[in-house]
Amino acid sequence: MHASQALDLARAQFGINIGFHILFPSITIGLAWLLVYFRVRYARSGDPAWLATYRLWTRIFALTFAMGVVTGIVMSFQFGTNWPGYMNKVGNVAGPLLGYEVLTAFFLEATFLGVMLFGMNRVPGWVHVLSAALVALGTTLSAFWILALDSWMQTPAGVAVRPDGALIAGDWWQVIFNPSLPYRLVHMLLASGLTAAFLVAGLSAWRLLKAGGDAAARGTLRTGVLIAALLAPLQIAAGDMHGLNTLEHQPEKIAAIEAIWHGGRGIPLELFAIPNRATRSNDYAIGIPKGASLVLRHDPDGELPGLDQFGDDLPPVAPVFFAFRIMVGLGVAMLALAWFGAWRTHRGRTAPRWLLWTFAGATFIGWPAVLAGWIVTEMGRQPWLVTGILKTRDALGDVPDAAIGASLTGYILTYGLLLLAYIVVLTHLAGEGGGETGGERA
């Protein structure tokens, strides 16, 4: 009883920390490359409108990046403060991957961000463009290393067990390029591209609602919409391939995603249901007959695994099942909105106000989709922390409940304040327009 309370608190704290953190990298990874594009357009054309665009979005990027940095520092301490068992068991594998993230990504992005933000008039133009590109490279490298570690925890490979029980890496190539990394990395990078694209489109729409004639905002609205229209179908295809990879390596997660209690052939795709763990069946199920088999095996009579094949080590079914539907639903909505918006702004046509309002309302649509996706993949891995190797509860430290409760409260209050301020400042920045010039403002 007592141990499970500490476990729940520690898991809640980790989930809230990492969930809050991922909001910001999911913008900056994509936005960093967009800034490179804006900066290069300005370098080539010398058009002040591109410079104004670059400056406005640099300010938004800087703010978002800072939020990512400060919440990320929390993560680097969390493993030790709450999950010492994780380090004892797999520290020999996890440590170096995190270390390479710091060495190859964190310093690069942090240092060149300074040059990018403040150095426009202090370094030659090409050095400034290069700095923007190095910041973007840093954010992507950071995503690569942390996803290598997360993917390894999902689908461990390339390790051996030492006599004392700790794991060591036998083959680093296999550890890093483990079976799920390519799919997860592509899926996350596309998710970040989509999140950033909708942010750009949404805040541009907001500016057009405030000041209709802003040519730069019309340009960035179109840019955001087109990028979203391009990435949304790619993301759906990548998601499908990621799902097939999960079916191969983590069938119990797929069984939870589709709430398949009993495996077999011709499994329906449940559009809605309330998974019932007690009866091991779905209540109020509305499904497409043979749909799941068709999607996952590309064959209506394909055989799928059921939760009944995995004993008691089951992930929580309902959260995974619902989170997956939220993610897919938002993905389809993004596709529809992006394609409609692309068509409606085609050949310089002006978007109607209701469409601008729709895009403004969808500014942060990437966030719930990203969070839902992470809930699917991380809760779908439970009760394992490292699949088949270490259970989450066995990694827990012996910090008292009260201490975890106190720190959790502190984090929640801080995060609430930061999130509120972030959204207020973002809408304020977008509303005031980006036409300012002068001095070393960059």
Partner: protein, 324 residues
């Protein structure tokens, strides 16, 4: 085995922590000095650290990362023992890091609020780091006396950061603000002198292991060079304040390096004093080798572009100069 990997990683980790303490020390110090400046001066003060703070904090991530990589069991034990100070430090670092961005974008009382949070976060982080240091020296022992000792250490570290921050301002500002910073630096120096003296006297009392290491004739005679050099560095800071822009900061860095050397000597070879040595806690050689190869390749680049960044942003800070 010919190379002592745990020893190499201890040296790397120590270097990363020392660099962190000096670099983030000056920007935390500037943060703590915020209430002492006028509104215009506050903008200049923040400008002087704007391009650097983010990279400065990355050294903390590297330091803690090296502890995690090289000594996984110690990482868990230490951070578990430091749970509350770590949480306080993280909240402080989050508030001040966010305040950097928010204060230049906010208006009216919002701006005042973020200025205040910038000071508060800086102070909280510095205080928590001092507590962590104090707890580490005493091996995380419980009891009122040990916590009191940690508070003294925390006070001393705050003074040290104020000294670093004010000498940084002497280096990077001019005119009235620079004159103010000279006064702040003198106060900071007095505060540090008191803190270092108290900590140096109390540490041998708090730990028998440390006592045995320092009071071991004839080694003690050689070891006395360390406090003597620290006093000399302090005197140098005092003398050069008002006469040179860069010498006081260099002297403050020297004080930190010497104090760090003293602490390192006290603790070595323990990660957790009297309980866990660097060799007992070390990660598998296969992991250490893998990281060392990368570190040896990448670290020169990091040092190179860090130097480049300081070159780009050399010279005196002005208000709004680094507001993007």
């Amino acid at each position: 085995m010919s190379v002592d990997l745990p020893l190499i990683f201890t040296a790397l980790m120590g270097l990363a922590i020392l660099i962190y303490v000096v670099l983030d020390g000056y920007d935390l110090g500037v943060g703590m000095l915020m209430p002492a400046g006028s509104a215009e001066e506050q903008d200049v003060m923040v400008s002087s650290i704007g391009p650097f703070w983010d990279a400065n904090e990355t050294w903390l991530v590297l330091g803690i990362g090296l502890l995690l990589i090289a000594f996984p069991p110690a990482y868990g034990m230490i951070l578990g023992a430091l749970y509350i100070p770590v949480a306080i430090m993280l909240v402080g670092l989050m508030l001040r890091g966010a305040a950097f961005e928010f204060r230049v974008k906010a208006l009216g009382w919002h701006r005042e609020l973020w200025n205040w949070l910038f000071w508060f976060g800086s102070f909280l982080a510095a205080l928590a780091q001092g507590l962590m240091l104090g707890r580490t020296i005493t091996g995380y022992a419980g009891g009122f006396g040990y916590w009191l000792f940690s508070l003294v250490v925390a006070g001393g570290l705050c003074g040290g950061y104020v000294l670093l921050g004010s000498t940084w301002l002497v280096l990077r500002t001019e005119g009235a603000l620079q004159h103010k910073a000279i006064v702040w630096a003198r106060w900071g120096l007095a505060w540090v002198a008191l803190g270092v003296a108290l900590v140096s006297l109390a540490t041998p009392l708090a730990s028998a292991t440390v006592r045995a290491k320092w009071f071991d004739f004839p080694h003690t005679l050689g070891l006395m060079l360390l406090p003597l050099a620290t006093i000399a560095a302090g005197a140098w800071v005092w003398r050069t304040l008002g006469r040179s822009d860069w010498k006081p900061f260099a002297g403050a860095v020297a004080i930190f390096a010497l104090a760090f050397a003293g602490l390192a000597y006290s603790l070595f070879p323990y990660l957790i004093i009297d309980r866990m040595t660097i060799w007992q806690a070390a990660a598998d050689p296969s992991s250490l080798e893998f990281v060392l190869v990368g570190a040896l390749i990448v670290l020169p680049f990091i040092l190179g572009y860090t130097a480049f960044s300081y070159r780009v942003f050399r010279g005196k800070a002005r208000a709004g100069l680094y507001e993007h």
